[in-house]
């Protein structure tokens, strides 16, 4: 301490305390699942048609289950995105070329978070390839955000309405001591 110039001493002390405090923190990871019903109104034309839902994120649900205080949440990433067609519609994914999943809110720019191109299954369920880089924490701090699934129709389809179910599995990093 003797070598440190006098006016810099308080700064040094503060820096040291902060360093010790932060170095004691650990990061843990947990996961959470959400199901979202997405709807679109027909008729549907060849090309991209948007299935949309407003989603009210329940961050407290994650927190209470795993005893994480909101301020300790560090990041939320996407682990899995699975889309299931409504069995009542009697259709399969053969009628779609690709699927792209995006999130947007009034305060946050639109982000693509998962994609599947091409779709090559005749089943009624697909798992999208998720982005490794996307950060969803800010979306989960919003009161509401919009989930947008673009399904690329191979041909025109004159249904009135369609709905699909999206299952999102998330990775949540949080601070702990």
């Amino acid at each position: 301490m003797k070598n440190i110039h006098k006016p810099l001493r308080p700064l040094f002390v503060i820096f040291t305390v902060v360093y010790i405090f932060t170095s004691c923190e650990k990061t843990k990871t947990t996961s959470a699942e959400y199901n979202v019903d997405l709807n679109a109104s027909g008729p549907f034309f060849q090309g991209g048609n948007s299935f949309i839902a407003d989603f009210k994120p329940d961050l407290s649900k994650i927190s209470s289950e795993t005893a994480i205080a909101n301020e300790n949440l560090k990041s939320i990433g996407i682990k899995k995105a699975i889309v299931t067609l409504n069995p009542n519609d009697s259709i399969s994914f053969e009628m779609f070329n690709s699927a792209t999943l995006q999130l947007v809110s009034d305060n946050i720019a639109m982000q693509s978070i998962a994609v599947l191109n091409p779709i090559s299954t005749s089943e009624n369920q697909i798992e999208l390839t998720v982005s490794n880089e996307v950060e969803l924490l800010d979306f989960f701090k919003e009161e509401v955000f919009t989930v947008l699934l673009d399904l690329d129709f191979a041909e025109d389809d004159y249904k009135d309405d369609m709905n699909v179910e999206l299952k999102l599995e998330l990775n949540i990093d949080y601070k702990t001591k």
Partner: protein
């Protein structure tokens, strides 16, 4: 007291009318537009309170190297490079400000994978000046887009 009420009613009516008018003005952007290079057509639509433009037509829909439909191979997020270009939203998050101007948005160039801040100015009902820039608006480039004219129906 009565005059106060009347003033209040007029003020509230004006505020709501202005809001509705701004919405109608903003929606003038909705439609299908063609950039000056003519390689694509972009459909602008409204999601929530913001405007987005997605590619609905490509002059060359297939990648000459693979023969498959073009994908966003230059996306900086490698896990998203299989996203199809047809249907890709290259204009995002535009908000109507005033005087035929939409701002706060971004424009994406799939040819180099770069995203630029962007402002749209409607010169007339069928012409847009779309400016893309990094940081300061003065340091950018403007492209002129034309509204796609739908053929009129024969009677």
């Amino acid at each position: 007291m009565n005059s106060l009420k009347i003033t209040l009613v007029i003020a509230l009516t004006s505020i709501f009318s202005f809001g509705a008018l701004a919405q109608v003005e903003g929606d003038k952007l909705i439609g299908v537009w063609e950039p000056s290079h003519g390689k694509a057509k972009v459909k602008i639509e409204k999601i929530g309170n913001k405007y987005y433009g997605k590619i609905v037509w490509l002059k060359e829909p297939n990648d000459p190297e693979t023969g498959n439909p073009k994908v966003d191979k230059n996306n900086p997020d490698e896990s998203m490079t299989s996203t199809p270009l047809r249907g890709y939203r290259i204009l995002k998050d535009f908000e109507y400000t005033d005087k035929n101007t939409w701002s706060e948005g971004t424009i994406y160039d799939p040819e180099n994978g770069s995203t630029y801040s962007s402002t749209i100015k409607m010169k007339d009902d069928n012409t847009l000046d779309i400016r893309g820039y990094i940081g300061v608006s003065a340091l950018g480039r403007t492209d002129v887009w034309k509204r796609l004219q739908m053929p009129s129906k024969k009677k």
